[in-house]
């Protein structure tokens, strides 16, 4: 009985992480705004910045991986390898989130020392959607850290708690 609730808890966690990563991916991809500025009109898309492209690719990889692991049977021997793969996916998530945050911060506040002006004043809806995608990415990251600790616990337990 305890084992069943543990397994369901792990599945729910992984489903939630899959949903969060997918949401971050979709919100970032659909962010697009056209603004007319003096005589010319510029269009802001997520492909303008390399960091946002990396964010989309990383979240796509994480979503596909979560979806595939959802169907892994319980008794297979691959669960020990899943721990290391979960660590790699968490590192991918942190790196993509921090890169997108660094670039989005410059877009919002500019960088006075380098002469870079902020662009959020001209394309506010694009900025809002990017912020939403980053928040979803952060939720996916937190869920993945919990998943990492959970899969380590499920591979090493129960002999760890009884021996101490």
């Amino acid at each position: 009985m305890v084992k069943l609730t543990k397994r369901i808890g792990g599945l729910v966690l992984r489903l939630a992480a899959f949903g969060a990563a997918l949401a971050a991916l979709i919100v970032m991809v659909t962010s697009r705004e056209r603004a007319s500025f003096l005589a010319l009109s510029l269009e802001a898309r997520y492909t303008d910045m390399a960091a946002f492209k990396y964010f989309v690719i990383a979240n796509a990889v994480v979503s596909v991986y979560s979806f595939l692991v959802l169907f892994l049977p319980e008794k297979s021997l691959l669960w020990k390898f899943i721990v290391v793969l979960d660590l790699v996916m968490t590192m991918l998530l942190t790196s993509s989130l921090s890169a997108a945050l660094a670039v989005a911060l410059i877009g919002k506040k500019g960088n006075a020392n380098a002469g870079w002006l902020p662009i959020c004043g001209q394309v506010p809806k694009f900025c809002d959607q990017v912020t939403g995608a980053l928040i979803a990415g952060f939720v996916a990251l937190v869920l993945y850290v919990l998943l990492l600790l959970y899969s380590l616990h499920s591979v090493v337990d129960p002999f760890l708690l009884q021996k101490s």
Binding site: M91, T94, A99, I106, L117, V145, L148, L152, S164
Partner: protein, 186 residues
């Protein structure tokens, strides 16, 4: 258990990771370049202004320095713990906490290195869509030192990933051994 192969491998990897992340933090923290440029010309007298490029100007670089200092401190702490822990039996809780801390610090190292990498890419190539000029053609030494620090940080990141994998495998081997011991006792 004190001098087995994985102990020596882990100690060697930790020393290299400590040196790599410390080098990255120090090189980035001392990164500074001052340049005098001619801003305007009044008549025949050129007006010079001196511009400085420091690492504090970009918050991503500040985070990079802080993250690498934290990871190198973690590695130093673990090296000291490994050298002075020569007891014949190993407790499970020690191995578990080392594995978890290694995993968390690996993710921290990856966050710091990648934030600085994308910030440096923005400084090197600029961005036509947002009308941001590149700064590497004027501050070449600043960019060179920054890319050297980034390379050291990425080497440290790969080493941290290998260290985390080795710690997890030590934990799994120890739990398998104790599981076989309890099942053979009963």
């Amino acid at each position: 258990m004190a001098r087995e192969k994985s102990w020596k491998l882990l100690l060697g990897l930790r020393i290299f990771a400590f040196m790599a992340t410390l080098a990255a933090a120090i090189v980035m923290a001392l990164n500074k370049e001052t340049k005098t440029l001619v801003v305007a010309t009044i008549g025949t007298i050129p007006i010079k202004a001196s511009l400085t490029a420091k690492f504090q100007h970009a918050p991503a670089f500040v985070f990079f320095v802080i993250a690498n200092v934290m990871v190198s401190f973690h590695n130093l702490f673990m090296i000291v713990l490994q050298i002075f822990n020569r007891k014949p039996e190993i407790k499970c809780f020690n191995l578990l906490s080392v594995a978890i801390l290694d995993m968390l610090n690996a993710t921290l190292a990856s966050a710091g290195a990648n934030a600085a990498a994308f910030m440096a890419e923005l400084g090197k190539n600029g961005n036509k869509h947002a009308k941001w000029n590149k700064i590497c053609d004027q501050f070449a030494i600043y960019c060179d030192h920054g890319s050297g620090a980034l390379i050291a940080a990425f080497i440290g990141l790969i080493l941290m990933l290998i260290i985390a994998a080795v710690s997890i495998s030590r934990l799994l081997i120890h739990s398998n051994k104790s599981a076989a011991a309890t099942s053979s006792n009963t």
